[in-house]
């Protein structure tokens, strides 16, 4: 579904992403792991158009989407959440999600009908799904950090995505919030059939939900494969997992 | 010389000099504004008021010293320090508590101060025009460029401009406070982290900036009638100069002042009725080409 071919990006000589390769099939959950500064967020920014790559190609469903601006990518049904909470702080939870739907449906130029009439059901459905329906009228800046991260995902869902990218979805969450978030991601994959790409530091989560894993070190792809393949790979163990022999195959 | 005049008429050259002496005033005021914008991030609307107060204070000091031709020198010497004192009180008393607020609030706060300053001037000096004596040595005119008389005092201004620019260059590049404030302009947390009292750095920069506004006021005083409202157009001009030069960049302020001053004086020569429009047009053209100013902004 998504294919990234030898993608590169440097900032003033520093190669943040260097020849990264990745492919994700429909319905998969793929994790990107790697030490801090490995270029995971930069890779996501390159895919979603926030940054323009120096080299390489990104294909989505066979179509070249390299270097398209973020709103074009959004229209291709690729949505993302951010590592740092990136909401509309003065708006309510409901409005946060509603805006994404209004934008997707091209209703943002409607000047005279009340927004109250638009996208009510869909917004409520999304909020129900992510478990924020009780807090629909709260101002988003006043939510707990965990709820804000979930709202991030809800906004992403407002784009009716086929492909979701989560940048450290559970960062900063309490243990209960984390397990709720994992359930949510599984739900999105199993019940809604969405394809998910995410990065995460917590290896337990990664090995718990990912179908496949891509390992990035210093901007480059080291290996891509199933959890077992990655776990057993010598280079990964040396570079990242700390050398412990947990191979069970 | 006649060959030169056939290409560049004497009126033109004379008007260029007028423009350059205007540039001096604009540069001095705008560089202070730019300094404060660059380091403190305050769009200081009250800057124009301090310029006006500088002109009024110089009137009073000149009067105090007899109002004769030499009394101006006392005014030139003392006034900037009076303005520095006022700005010090304002900064420590009010502005320092608001540095973390957004620009809009700072802009409005300084506007509120400009209202207060305006009325205080009205209260102290009244609404009549005041005139400040031209210093003895620079009274009268000299024939320049084909005998067109040129005011001597404007020649004096032409010499002051480069001197102020040099002093500013020295302060910004060669002194400790200059280096610290340049660093603070880029990253104030870092400067705070290495144990420098950022608050006092800001106070110092603010006072220096305002002192320049006051200096501009003293220097302009003998050439104009000192009056209420002289701050209103000047502050807009100063802001435009800072914007086209690049926020916080003192050489940008110089470049902007040159563009503004010269286009103003030449505009009046070429198109007497609408000459005053020319500098504003020049600003718009510059900003269309380089929206963030000609030189590198410190922001």
């Amino acid at each position: 579904m998504l294919r990234v071919e030898s993608l590169s990006k440097s900032f003033e000589g520093f190669k943040a992403v260097n020849n990264a390769n990745l492919h994700v099939e429909k319905g998969e959950i793929v994790a990107v792991i790697g030490p801090n500064g490995a270029g995971k967020t930069t890779l996501f920014n390159l895919i979603t158009g926030v940054l323009k790559p120096d080299n390489g190609k990104v294909y989505f469903k066979g179509e070249d989407i390299t270097g398209l601006p973020p709103h074009e990518i959004f229209k291709k049904r690729i949505s993302r959440s951010f590592q740092v909470v990136n909401l509309f702080p003065r708006l309510s939870v409901f409005e946060n999600v509603q805006i994404a739907i209004l934008s997707r449906e091209g209703k943002t130029w409607n000047l005279f009908s009340p927004s109250k009439k638009f996208a009510i059901e869909e917004t409520e459905e999304i909020l129900e799904r992510v478990g924020l329906i009780d807090k629909r009228n709260r101002i988003s800046a006043l939510l707990s950090h965990g709820d804000q991260k979930v709202l991030e995902i809800a906004i992403a869902l407002g784009g009716k995505p086929e492909f979701l990218i989560f940048d450290e979805p559970t960062a900063g969450m309490s243990p209960e919030e984390t397990s709720r978030c994992i359930e949510l991601i599984k739900h999105l994959s199993e019940k809604m059939g969405l394809t998910i790409l995410f990065c995460e530091h917590d290896m337990e989560i990664v090995f718990g939900i990912a179908n496949r894993i891509m390992v990035m070190v210093r901007g480059s792809t080291i290996i891509q494969g199933s959890c077992e393949e990655v776990r057993c790979n010598k280079a990964v163990q040396d570079a990242y997992l700390g050398g412990g022999d947990e191979c069970s195959v | 010389m006649d060959i030169v005049y056939s290409v560049l008429p004497p009126q033109f050259l004379s008007q260029v000099l007028v423009g350059l002496s205007r540039t001096t005033i604009l540069f001095i005021v705008a560089s202070g504004l730019s300094l404060i914008l660059g380091v403190l991030r305050i769009p200081n609307v009250a800057h124009g008021s301090l310029y006006m107060i500088g002109a009024f204070v110089s009137y009073s000091i000149a009067k105090l010293f007899g109002g004769g031709p030499s009394s101006y020198w006392w005014a030139l010497l003392i006034t900037p320090f009076v303005i520095a004192l006022i700005s010090f009180v304002v900064e420590r008393g009010v502005f320092q508590f608001l540095y973390e607020r957004e620009h809009l609030m700072l802009l409005l706060l300084t506007f509120a101060f400009s209202l207060v300053f305006g009325d205080l001037v009205k209260l102290i000096w009244g609404v009549e025009y005041k005139s400040v004596p031209v210093p003895g040595a620079f009274q009268g005119f000299v024939p320049l460029f084909g005998g067109i008389p040129f005011p001597l005092y404007n020649l004096f201004l032409l010499c002051v401009g480069p001197v102020v620019a040099l002093i500013l260059w020295f302060i910004v590049n060669k002194t400790k406070i200059g280096k610290i404030s340049r660093a603070a302009a880029v990253d104030r947390e870092m400067v705070g982290a290495v144990g420098i009292n950022v608050s006092w750095v800001f106070a110092t920069v603010f006072v220096i900036g305002c002192l320049l506004a006051g200096l501009g006021g003293v220097l302009v005083a003998p050439t104009v009638s000192v009056t209420l409202g002289m701050d209103h157009t000047l502050i807009i001009e100063a802001f435009l100069i800072v914007i086209i030069g690049g926020l916080g960049n003192i050489w940008g302020a110089l470049l902007g002042a040159l563009i503004f001053g010269l286009s103003q004086s030449l505009g009046i020569l070429l198109w007497p009725k609408f000459g005053i429009v020319i500098p504003y047009l020049a600003v718009v053209v510059v900003l269309l080409i380089k929206p963030t100013g000609l030189l590198k902004s410190t922001w």
Partner: protein, 318 residues
């Protein structure tokens, strides 16, 4: 949602205010009718500015230009052409909107303070032209004694016309804010980056906002011609723009009726203070300073915070 009436109590207050405004000419002397007209149109001016400033997060620093342009356009058409004054009244806001569009196209590339400064420089250009073009605009004298249609030439006629147009305009502005466009606009204010990522064309929405804001500033300017029969270049001067921003701040710029309230407070205060001292600017300056320190969300913002604890939040828009 912000800018809401405070439930039933708010509705009651609103009805009382509207009734009061209707019967005002029967109770109060002429002077107060004039002052209330000025309050209404100044309130509309501030509200239109706040659409960009408070709800759009756009640093509209020179809103007075559109007010003055609308007033001058109407006044010039009435005095220099043989067209009906009613056409002039319609043309004023349209001229403002066109100037708003042109200035917007030029400055929208920049954001925040740079945008504001570019608005100021372009606006100053308009001001200088009006100020210097004696033969056409009357220069710093302005234009006086503009003839009006019979029905508007009495104080009461002008008052009711102003009341009606202001009410209508405020209703339209309210509808716009509550529309999908309005929601998206507030989203852009809160987070332009994320808005872009979810597919909103940020600049184009902001440009539309500027056109709307300048149109209604033009409506206010035209109303001034109706109420005062004069135009003068200070209507386009930057100090007025600053005062407009202060009205928004004073009333509360995340509320819909805040700017109207701020305008009422400012106009009333100026009228009364300047009746006993020439130093009203001094008093206003001190008042503004206090507001900035102690009421950063304005009067209505403060009230909302008090009454709706937990739903309102002071997020500093850095």
């Amino acid at each position: 949602m912000k800018g809401n009436l405070l439930g039933r109590k708010g509705l009651l207050t609103g009805v009382i205010i509207i009734l009061f405004l209707f019967i005002l000419p029967f109770i109060f002397p002429r002077f107060y009718i004039y002052m209330t007209s000025i309050i209404l149109l100044t309130g509309l001016l501030a509200s239109s500015c706040n659409i960009a400033l408070g709800f759009g997060g756009i640093y509209q620093f020179h809103h007075a230009v559109f007010y003055g342009a609308g007033a001058y356009a109407a006044a010039l058409i009435i005095t220099k052409s043989s067209l009906s004054p009613w056409i002039a009244f319609a043309a004023g806001p349209i001229v403002s909107a066109i100037i708003g569009l042109i200035m917007g196209i030029i400055s929208i590339r920049l954001s925040k303070l740079y945008f504001g400064m570019l608005q100021v420089s372009l606006g100053s250009l308009v001001w200088v032209i009006v100020y210097r073009w004696y033969s056409f605009t009357g220069g710093d004298d302005g234009i006086h004694g503009i003839p009006l249609p019979e029905i508007l030439s009495s104080a009461n006629g002008a008052y009711y016309f102003t009341l009606f147009i202001t009410g209508l305009s405020m209703f339209v502005l309210y509808r716009i804010l509550k529309s999908p466009f309005g929601s998206v606009l507030q989203g852009i204010r809160d987070n332009p980056l994320r808005s872009g990522i979810i597919g909103v064309n940020v600049k184009r929405h902001q440009l539309m906002t500027l056109v709307i804001a300048s149109f209604f500033a033009g409506v206010a300017g035209t109303l001034f011609v109706v109420v005062d029969n004069t135009v003068f270049p200070d209507m386009l001067f930057w100090t007025l723009s600053m005062e407009i921003v202060i009205m928004c701040l004073l009333g509360g710029w995340f509320t819909f009726f805040g700017p109207m309230l701020g305008a009422a407070a400012l106009v009333a205060l100026r009228t009364f203070v300047s009746s006993f001292t020439v130093y009203w600017a001094l008093i206003l300056g001190i008042l503004f300073t206090l507001v900035i320190f102690f009421l950063p969300n304005g009067i209505l913002g403060y009230i909302e915070q008090k009454f709706k604890k937990g739903t309102e939040v002071s997020v500093d828009r850095g």
